[in-house]
Symmetry: C2
DNA sequence: ATAAGATTGTGATGGTCATCACGTCGGACT
DNA sequence: AGTCCGACGTGATGACCATCACAATCTTAT
């Protein structure tokens, strides 16, 4: 099994065992995943990932960062913490959330491979605005804040990619705000979310996989678990959608659009 | 009176008279405002504005863009339009909104001098995500999309500034989403907004100017004009805040924080 | 000064949804 | 098999707020 090189002293050591839940299941869980410790030979790199760089830049990038593996359930960083570094997600998914003091949580988004974590906090050098928790076994390439910023300053392609990433984050956050503000009813918010999911280039048309619990959905929609359950069942009852496992199919897109 | 050089053919001509309301009042309304047509000699430039550039970059920047003046009330661009260019705001304020088909509107933010308008749409080359309407007489420096992008690619300081601007937009949108999602009650959202306003570096402590109508506030808070009126009066009645004209004073910050 | 329009104030009413409470289901581990 | 635990389903109730309707101010134009 591929094990990550150790993190730079004190910088990322914290992330191991933060939640303590999954350490004992680490052995073997990466055994058959396709991944590489070397960005130059990495097969997973994709056109619109941050790490899609020219050979020279890529080799500097590779040398600068630390390859790491994080078990599912671990928290990479918490809202409010001082920024410790920047990570580019190579594999796995990370849940990004913010919470209020009374325990309510907003699920901001699920980060996918290619995304950059902690970019905003690092640029502003202010505390993390969100909490990042691995929901799969995750591989990341980690950088010291200053290393990463200097890399951006040296490589225009890097800073253009960073701008693209920030732009994506902006659009996503704006979408969240729009969904919450412009659809007063819960069914409207669900409809909007589902239409966004199909608009995204997942499946060609009217179905997509939704691996979120009702609790998670509620937390994206600013509502409660019970209300999500009710709305979803109502939609199924009215044959607007069907749900089989994690696969959601939209049967009547026009009806969904009426709910906005 | 300083008049803008004419816009490049067909590109910005549209913005004049879009709303048709203010053209006849243009004469004289800028007569005593401090501004310059030349970025190199412009006294208004500020450290964290986009146009805070090194002398070489600045002179290229100045040559590349078109200085323009837009009357209050005009719309610079509409949500859904193909991006026509990028503008850096030199003076005045611009209201940024999105709307749903049924007329509900989300006030995303009020752009201030130094902000870049249309950056996200230009980077992605997708339709504007928001509508931009001048609420003051506004001066802008306008660029063709390609010119601006090439400028960014040539000048690392430019792309770093662009990243900073996008980051600000991201943080702002995220804040909007948080306000809407984590504070269920209207009073909670008002409280959150007011605490944000004081946290911002306006006045040192517990008061700030609020030049928004109740209608505008409602549109930032995802609620109605009437509810805003009621909550504001309730807060005044309970001596949590006072409002004199546009000046809001927070009397009991702790009580506001309880409402979140 | 007066009219016209925008903004703010306020009551009444009905619907939507948060909350609480509990029941059901299905997978994981022993 | 049985237990445990997280996820899902569902009813009852009351609070909060959107909506409608209209009155009272405050602004601006002519």
């Amino acid at each position: 099994m591929l094990l990550a090189r150790r993190a730079s002293p004190a910088n990322f050591a914290i992330i191991y065992g933060m939640l303590g839940s999954a350490e004992d299941t680490m052995a073997g869980q990466f055994s058959n995943s396709m991944h590489s410790e070397n960005c130059l030979t990495c097969k997973n790199r994709h056109a619109d990932w941050f790490c899609n760089l020219s050979p020279q830049a890529l080799s500097e990038y590779d040398a600068l960062g630390m390859h790491m593996v994080v078990p599912s359930g671990s928290t990479l960083f918490f809202e409010g913490q001082a920024p410790r570094g920047i990570s580019v997600l190579c594999a796995g998914h990370v849940k990004l959330t913010t919470s209020s003091k009374d325990g309510k949580t907003l699920l901001v988004r699920i980060a996918k491979p290619g995304d950059v974590l902690g970019l905003s906090a690092a640029l502003l050098d202010t505390p993390y605005e969100i909490t990042a928790q691995a929901i799969d076994p995750v591989q990341i390439k980690s950088f010291q804040r200053q290393d990463f910023l200097r890399f951006l300053e040296r490589h225009i392609e890097g800073s253009m990619h960073a701008a693209k990433m920030l732009n994506d984050e902006y659009r996503n956050a704006l979408n969240d705000a729009i969904r919450l503000a412009l659809s007063a009813s819960i069914s409207g918010r669900v409809a909007r979310l589902f239409l966004e999911m199909t608009a995204g280039h997942d499946h060609p048309n009217s179905h997509f996989t939704l691996s979120l619990t009702h609790e998670n959905l509620a937390s994206m929609l600013g509502t409660t678990r019970e209300s999500v359950t009710r709305v979803l069942n109502e939609m199924k009852r009215k044959k607007i959608i069907t749900i089989k496992g994690t696969l959601v199919t939209i049967l009547r897109k026009d009806t969904l659009e009426l709910l906005l």
